[in-house]
Symmetry: C2
Subunit: 201 residues, 2 copies
């Protein structure tokens, strides 16, 4: 019995559909760039349904951002995990994945940072802060495996590079952002064999 108790059509599926479709529209156009009416049209759902599931546009946005943050965090963690144990390979895989993201036609920067910049609501800022903490933790782990004397500092420097790369890819029309960020990231690793790097600089 996959259908919930005493209901029809499966509300859970409806909620998931709203979340997925609304995420795409609000990411492309901005949180304040599309009203609830048009949002419902795009999603293919009535206003009453949307409001019964989320109560408020802000709540929808928060649910959306939490899911997105978790998805991105899991994605990057998987990319790193699949790259083996070498921090060099892990960073290569990470910035390679970021570059693929930058090349996606729908790429419009980090959804959480965009939201925190657009919406001055405390809950949104909290979600963004949590997202950056997860990001920082992933990079600090790489810094530890690389044998950094101060992995929390190197982790934060790698975070600046990764977020800076995303920012530049968002606002400048440029190629090879990921490759250049990777090159800089590798240069920050302790006792790295520089001769093994492409001599692009």
């Amino acid at each position: 019995m996959p259908v919930p108790r005493g209901s029809t059509i499966d509300p859970e599926r409806t909620r998931a559909t709203i979340l997925r479709a609304a995420t795409a529209v609000l990411y492309e156009r901005g949180l304040d760039g599309v009203g609830v009416a048009e949002l419902c049209t795009r999603v293919g759902v009535s206003k009453e349904t949307l409001y019964r599931h989320f109560g408020t546009k802000d709540k929808l946005v928060e649910a959306m951002l939490v899911e997105r943050s978790d998805h991105v965090t899991r994605w990057l963690a998987d990319v790193v995990a699949d790259a083996g144990d070498d921090p060099h390979d892990q960073l290569t895989a990470l910035f390679g994945a970021l570059q693929e993201w930058y090349d996606d036609p729908v790429f419009r920067g980090c959804a959480m940072l965009n939201a925190a910049t657009q919406h001055h609501v405390e809950a949104v800022r909290a979600i963004t802060a949590r997202h950056l903490d997860h990001y920082l933790r992933l990079l600090t782990g790489i810094a530890e495996r690389a044998g950094a004397a101060r992995p929390e500092i190197l982790g934060r420097q790698l975070l600046m590079l990764a977020e800076g790369a995303t920012l530049v890819a968002t606002h400048q029309s440029t190629t090879d952002v990921g490759a250049h960020a990777l090159q800089a990231a590798l240069a920050l690793l302790p006792t790295t064999d520089q001769a093994a790097l492409p001599r692009a600089m």
Copy 2:
């Protein structure tokens, strides 16, 4: 006769006052976070006056961003110029200035990047792109003086670091962002005497 022909009270001064006060309010609360009515109250001017000087809220925003971009660009260029000829000293001065900015209670990130994220208007995106170009040019100049084989690449990497540092300072409550970014930036310079750096990493 400092007062313009055939007028009273000095409109130029009024315009400058509006621009300055509106910049502070819109930077703190966001471009869409305060309406024109409240904006006029805060600035201390009537709506008719504001609209006669700028015609549109969007035009006011654009004028504001252009002035802000020019101001920031001039500020950073002066900081670098006053630091002498050594790229090491120039980066130290640059990230030191950025850190002072981060410590300012009214600091809320880069106004141009915030605006480009909030307002999906082409003119705003153009101003932001121009601002990043100026920023990139300044850093590429430092990269050239440092003797980088590919100064345009090193310049872009320094831009990622600087903007990434600003981003982290905006969204994470952390200290020493400027110092850590500086340390990373110096590590990217070619043939730098690493022993002279603080061994913090």
